[in-house]
């Protein structure tokens, strides 16, 4: 069951938390293409948030191509397609890598251990995707 949880008072603004969780769920296939998400109003009520916060998160996800809004019928998971230019893609990847690496490096793993962990995780995620595509 797809569920979003937000924590106020954390490092990440709440709308970012929503974006991260939706993106993560799409990546790990907890959410499949075509699945509908709760409406802005429903999610805002459920999470006890200002609906502008939820709207902002959804708008960003639509802009990134993760979600698509079907007029009058709500918000759905979009088919994966490239919305960014190659320059923008590179920039986003570099940014995500910086955040990820700076967090990981403080834990004291060696570069080899990190690469191994990344490869393992990546393999698992792609395996899930392939499995879903077969189904």
């Amino acid at each position: 069951m797809f569920e979003i949880q937000v924590t106020p008072g954390g490092n990440r603004p709440i709308y970012r938390q929503i974006i991260d969780q939706v993106r993560n769920s799409v990546a790990t296939l907890e959410l499949s293409v075509g699945d509908s998400l709760p409406s802005v109003r429903q999610l805002a009520e459920e999470l006890v948030l200002n609906h502008n916060t939820v709207a902002k998160a959804y708008a960003e996800l639509v802009r990134e191509g993760v979600l698509e809004s079907r007029h009058g019928r709500g918000v759905f998971v979009a088919k994966r397609r490239q919305v960014f230019s190659s320059g923008e893609r590179k920039r986003r990847m570099d940014q995500a890598l910086d955040v990820f690496l700076s967090e990981i490096l403080t834990l004291g793993y060696s570069p080899e251990q990190i690469e191994e962990a990344v490869a393992k995780r990546l393999a698992k995620m792609t395996a899930n995707q392939n499995k879903a595509e077969v189904e």
């Binding site: 106020p8 490092n11 603004p13 200002n50």
Partner: protein
């Protein structure tokens, strides 16, 4: 002069002295319609004084303010019926029965919504026949909120509505406010120091410290434009002067934590010069706000930061 219709509250140079002490100094702030604005500051920072002046319950020493386009010091009864006010402490006369509080409102608020009042009482678990002195603090807050929201105001002003409430009552209050804010063209101004609630409720944030307005920005914008760094080098007034937009610095064990407004490449470079191992860190809302509220020796730098985060 054309007045923009999308500003619910306007203040201009609002100043108030009590004896020789200034509770508010030259406050100029616009609160836009249709949004939730949180006013944050220490107790005694001037928030309650500001609210009282906005509602015409206290005259300013200097300056003026407007509610819904009408001068605060000469509000007509008609304008007052469009503004809901929840004063701090949730005051109600103890001898009254809860259902009698509706009687107090019904006579003079033309859009009184009795079903909403009853529904809210139920939501907060208050029996209408109980006397105000018999119910708990949280329930009294619920009654106050019900009394105010059921008058169907366009503009809702709340002064520390969650003070003295347990977490359950607090959550109920936030839910009630969000339900109100969802409706068309409702404006909320809420004074609070509960930053978790601010994160849930607010579109905008204004920070007042020592009677002065330090920040007036959208909440997301505020968080994006305020950055935090941790450095391991010595940090004193000399180093502080080199960083434009520095809001606050705090020593914790051997490290110094910096909060900077609108950090640009120059700022980053300046920080790197002071300490090569400086690390950028994501700030919680609390950290960002506290940086503005902490009395800091670097007054000069704060003024520079003020200009950036308006």
């Amino acid at each position: 002069m054309m007045r923009a219709d999308n500003i619910a509250i306007r203040t201009s140079g609002l100043t108030r002295y009590f004896g020789h002490k200034a509770a508010l100094r030259g406050l100029t702030l616009d609160i836009p319609r249709g949004q939730v604005t949180a006013l944050v500051g220490h107790n005694g920072a001037g928030k309650t004084t500001l609210i009282r002046m906005l509602l015409g319950l206290l005259p300013p020493t200097r300056g003026r303010s407007e509610l819904l386009g009408h001068d605060s010091q000469s509000l007509t009864p008609e304008v007052r019926t469009r503004v809901g006010y929840l004063a701090e402490g949730h005051f109600l006369w103890g001898w009254m029965r809860v259902r009698d509080t509706a009687r107090l409102q019904r006579e003079t608020f033309p859009r009184w919504d009795q079903p909403l009042f009853d529904a809210m009482l139920k939501f907060f678990g208050v029996t209408p026949d109980a006397r105000v002195r018999q119910i708990s603090r949280g329930q009294r807050a619920g009654v106050s909120l019900a009394m105010t929201l059921a008058t169907d105001p366009e503009l809702l002003i709340l002064d520390d509505p969650s003070m003295g409430l347990d977490p359950v009552a607090r959550r109920a209050l936030v839910e009630g406010l969000l339900a109100f804010a969802r409706r068309d063209d409702r404006t909320i101004l809420i004074c609070t120091h509960l930053l978790d609630d601010v994160e849930r409720l607010a579109d905008r944030i204004a920070i007042i410290s020592n009677g002065q307005l330090l920040v007036d920005a959208g909440l997301a914008e505020f968080r994006e434009r305020v950055g935090g760094w941790t450095i391991d080098a010595d940090f004193g007034a000399q180093q502080a002067a080199q960083i434009p937009g520095l809001v606050d610095s705090r020593q914790l064990r051997e490290r110094t934590h910096l909060v900077v407004a609108d950090p640009d490449q120059e700022t980053v470079a300046a920080i790197q010069r002071i300490s090569g191992t400086a690390r950028r860190e994501e700030l919680t809302l609390k950290d960002a706000v506290l940086a503005y509220l902490r009395p800091s020796a670097m007054v000069g730098s704060i003024s520079a930061a003020l200009e950036n985060v308006r």
